[in-house]
Symmetry: C2
Amino acid sequence: MPTSTVENYLKQILIVSLETNCPEVPMGKVAQGLSVTSGTATTMFKNLAENGWLHYYPRRGVRLTRKGKALAMNMLRRHRLLETFLVETLGLDWSEIHQEAEELEHAISEKVLEKLDEFLGRPRQDPHGHPIPSRGGVIRRSSTQSLLSCKAGSKVTIESITDQESDFLKFARKKQLFPGQVVSVLSHEKLADAITLQVGGAAPFSLGSRSSEKILVQA
Amino acid sequence: MPTSTVENYLKQILIVSLETNCPEVPMGKVAQGLSVTSGTATTMFKNLAENGWLHYYPRRGVRLTRKGKALAMNMLRRHRLLETFLVETLGLDWSEIHQEAEELEHAISEKVLEKLDEFLGRPRQDPHGHPIPSRGGVIRRSSTQSLLSCKAGSKVTIESITDQESDFLKFARKKQLFPGQVVSVLSHEKLADAITLQVGGAAPFSLGSRSSEKILVQA
DNA sequence: CAATATACTTTGATTACTCAAAGTTCTCAT
DNA sequence: ATGAGAACTTTGAGTAATCAAAGTATATTG
C-alpha cells in the first residue's frame, strides 16, 4: 500500500508529463512542484524506482511505469471528482477547493469514490475544466492551445484554467474567465507581452503572457 | 497543528472516558483501543502532556485538558457527521462506514465540515444512534441503560449500538436491532448469561451479555 | 578548450512515530 | 507483610520522510 507521500510524488510526475507532453520528467520540476529540496526528491526517486513505481535515469529524470501511471491517474481522478463534489454539492468556491481536495484524495477509498462518482452523475470534467480520468485511467486529451497562442480578432471558448492558485482563480472569476466562456481577442502585442480581451459585454482588459498561458482554449 | 496520530489518541481517550463515565483514563485502555503496545502509548502520553493536550499521572492514567477535550470532541463530530454522510447521501452500508470515516476525519477541514453539516440538515445523531457533538463541543448524554440491564417483560427502544465491528453490525441489522426499534425482553437469565428478545413480529432470539451490553436503550 | 553556472546526488542529522524486550511499581490474596 | 502477577515505564533500535550543505556531473559561453 503506497503512503500518501508516494501518491503525491506520482501524481506530480504525471501532471508534469501531461503539461510538457513528454513521459520523461526532470527531477527539478517534481521537487519544485512538491516544495521539497532536490536532495529529498532524489532520495525518493530511488525509493520509488525500487518499488516499481517508475524508472529512474540518474541526472536525466524519471518515467512512470504502467503501475505508477495507473496509481497517478487514479489520484488525478480522486482529486478532480472531489473538487467537483466540493463545488457542486457543498457549494464551496472554485478558488478554495484545490487544497481541500489535496488532503481528501488520500483518505477516500475506492468504494466511496465510486459512490461519489455515481452521486455526481459521472461528470467528465472538474470545475476548472480539467478532464476527469475514467476508472480505467483513460483521460481526454487537453487542448494544446492557450490564450497566448491566439491571434488578434479571434474568438475562442475557454476549456480550462491550469492554475490552482486561489488568488489567480478569484481574479479569473471576477473577469468572467471560466470554462465555457467565449472570449474575443482584441489585440495581441507580442513585443509588449500583452493580450487584450473582451468577455461578454464587459470592459476589455489585458493579460500578460504568464497569465494567458494558464488559460486553455478551443477555437 | 496536531498530527493525525495525536488526533487519534485524543479521540480514543475521550471515547473511553465517555464509556466509563470517568475523566481519568488508564493507559492500557487507550493502547488497546488504538492497537499499539503499552510502551508506545506511554511515550506518546508524555509527548501529549508536554504539548498541553492532557495531564499525565504516571501509572495512574491521563485526563484531557480543556484544549485536548475540545479537539477530541471535534474529532468525534467529524467522524459522526462523515458516517452520516456516507450512509444518508452516498448510500453505503451501516456496517462498512466506520473505517471509511476513520480515514476521512483527519483530512476534512473545518470549512468543508460546516458545509457538510449544513448539507445534511444538521443531524443530531449518526447512523449508529450516537449523538453528534455540536460545533462548540457539546454532546447529548447517552443512555446509561443497556439491554443487559433490562428486566424480563420490559419493552424498550434502542438508542444506539456501541460497537463498530462490521460483523456485529451486519448481524444486528439482520435481527432488526438498530436505533429507534422497539424491543420486548422475553426473558433474562442472569445465571445463564442470556437475554431473549423479540423485535416486531419476528421470531424471538437470544443474546449473551457481551452483545446485549453493546445495545443502549431507553425505557 | 577552459571556466563557470546549473542541475543533480550524496551525506549526516532530525522528527515523529513504532515495536520488542527488559525493568519497575503497585495491588491483593494468602 | 510478602511474593506473584498485572499494569505500567524504560531502553534500544527501526522506518519513512525531511533538510542543509557539501560534492559531482553536464551544459554553456566566452
